[in-house]
Amino acid sequence: MKKRLFGAAIAMAATAALITGCAGGATPEAGGGDGEKPYIAIISKGFQHQFWQAVRAGAEQAAEEFDVEITFEGPDTEADVDQQIQMLQTALDKNPAAIGFAALDSQAAGPLLQQASDSGIPVVAFDSGVDSDIPVTTASTDNLAAAAEAAKHMVEAIGEEGKIAVVAHDQTSLTGQQRRDGFVEYIEENAPNVEIVDVQYGGGDQAKSADLAKAIISANPDLKGIYGTNEGSAIGVVQAVKELGLSPDALAVVGFDSGKAQLDAIRDGLMLGAITQNPVGIGYETVKAAVEAINGETLPATIDTGFYWYDSTNIDDPTIAAVLYE
């Protein structure tokens, strides 16, 4: 009995230390609202992926330039709508000068966005649009146009005819849908001899995407190309090509986003090329727009943060290298 009590005491002490330790590290400077600098709370869709770290870097760059204070946070996964709503609630409670928000689910965020609007806190949407009139502007990539650009390069690579497939990251988010639809629509309108035989979803997980790409390749031995709609999906497809020992000439792989593995695959010739967004630009434009909104300036409905096609020919160009991340 004594032993057990002792054990429990140690466990509780450890837990307490852990909690206080975490709280100490994670709590942003409170009371940002009444400091000298305007405080902008930024809620992203995540924080783990390199993409979000790059957005954060851009936001911090702008914060320094415009002399404002920001916090940057996001839920553990891009499926955690509930956690993101709680973060938005906490941000509102701190009464910020403005909010940057990348909605996982714009319906779910509706009431809180209304609350922000009622309190006169301007909201800048970023990454994907928010289905609401409350945000003063939206800073994002035109994913439909970006996906169409990927399709254009795919069609050229396979000689304008043959079977291709899509490995997408998800079918519920706006980016997932637009990167699929932009690609599919371009093919349907411009490439009558190209057939999309399958669209499957791997949740952006590399191993899952590799397994499903292998299944698609097995089911379609005459497949000429696969398009992966984000970093994990694209790397998964490359992994499948490696594991099956296919020649890169036989199967064109087109990707989306950046990351070391994808850059290596392009340099090694395993991947034809990919679309990169400008995540640093997204973060920068979000904070810049928030500052302009705080100063009462009128903003355009959308701010197109741009995208680029990159392949082995231009991967080291300074303009491209600046928006790629490892």
């Binding site: 057990r4 191993a207 397994d211």
Partner: protein
């Protein structure tokens, strides 16, 4: 609840019952394979069979390890994120600390064992229910992976041959990967541990009736710690293989993998109430999961229906198992 009959006398019956059950599970696997082979000419090909085995390897090894824990009546929810953490530790050992390949791999497997040991300690010495103890570990492992890696994937520039642990083709002229051979070796080792050693005997005994086992002089606490540690070693190995397959330690993910592994164990006839289970069953369960996922993709069933189908298979497997037990 069955009465705790003396282990020796009932072993013949349970052997017969277990083989019948495995026969049924095996027959279901064959049936699924036949159905997909009819539906698509591309399913039953050498390349695709290797793909299925590759897909089953990591989850399968996790399922094998956790079979021991489930037989004791416990559960381990930390195997998925624990595996990710072990992958990250492989990256730390090999890339940050520059260890030789064998030491890094061994280190990661032992690290998995330590995670398992902590789970076992929390369950048997502190008396925290397994579900809660390993749920806590699941979150700790997920967070630590991100902290240690700085949220970035870790690559293996000092060890370009690291990926051959999983991917190296071992049969000339084919693409049969070393990882699958490791999976087969792990199956054999697990089967021996479960059926031929004292670890296996005590696992069954603890799962059937913990109090009686304790009364008959077995140090249940010690053996539970050993069994969780054993499962942790499997987690470490799975972490190495998964990082090797992707040539990188990915700090995100792992959540949900524990459920896939537990589903494989349950489809294979191991009871979540403990006291009953087999390695062959778990292997068949893991193969059923992998074949279903692969086959449904080959015939282009939409994603949402794939989940529905796998869920139905889990329910049917457990229901059939209940029917069998009731009639037995």
């Amino acid at each position: 609840m069955s009465t705790p009959a003396p282990a020796r006398t009932s072993s013949l019956f349970s052997l017969a019952r277990n083989s019948l059950q495995q026969l049924l599970a095996f027959a279901s696997l064959i049936a699924i394979v036949i159905v997909f082979s009819i539906l698509s000419p591309h399913f039953f090909t050498a390349n695709n069979i290797v793909s299925v085995l590759t897909a089953a390897t990591v989850t399968g090894i996790l399922a094998l390890g956790t079979t021991f824990v489930i037989i004791t009546g416990g559960i381990d929810l930390s195997i998925g994120t624990g595996m990710i953490l072990c992958g990250v530790m492989t990256g730390v050992f090999l890339t940050y600390w520059g260890w030789p390949l064998w030491a890094g791999v061994l280190g990661a497997v032992i690290f998995g064992g330590i995670i398992g040991f902590i789970n076992g300690f929390n369950v048997s010495i502190l008396g925290i229910p397994p579900f809660i103890a390993t749920l806590g570990m699941m979150l700790i492992a997920s967070g630590l992976s991100l902290v240690i890696s700085g949220t970035k994937p870790i690559y293996f520039p000092n060890h370009p041959d690291f990926q051959s642990i999983m991917n190296l083709s071992i049969l000339p002229g084919t693409r049969f990967p070393l990882g699958v051979a490791v999976f087969i070796a792990v199956i054999i080792v697990s089967a021996i541990i479960l059926s031929k050693t004292i670890v296996g005997r005590y696992a069954f005994s603890i799962g059937s009736n913990e109090a009686a086992t304790e009364l008959s002089g077995v140090n249940v606490r010690k053996w539970k710690i050993i069994i969780y540690t054993l499962s942790g070693l499997f987690v470490g190995l799975a972490g190495v293989l998964s990082a090797s397959r992707l040539s990188s330690a990915q700090p995100t993910g792992g959540m949900g993998l524990e459920l896939e592994a537990i589903a494989a164990v349950v489809i294979g006839g191991t009871s979540l109430q403990g006291g009953k289970g087999s390695i062959v069953g778990t292997v068949i369960g893991a193969l059923i999961m992998a074949v279903l996922t692969n086959g449904l993709r080959i015939i282009s069933v939409p994603q949402e229906w794939q989940s529905v189908a796998v869920g139905c298979v889990i329910l049917i497997a457990v229901y059939l198992d209940m029917l069998r037990r009731r009639s037995a």
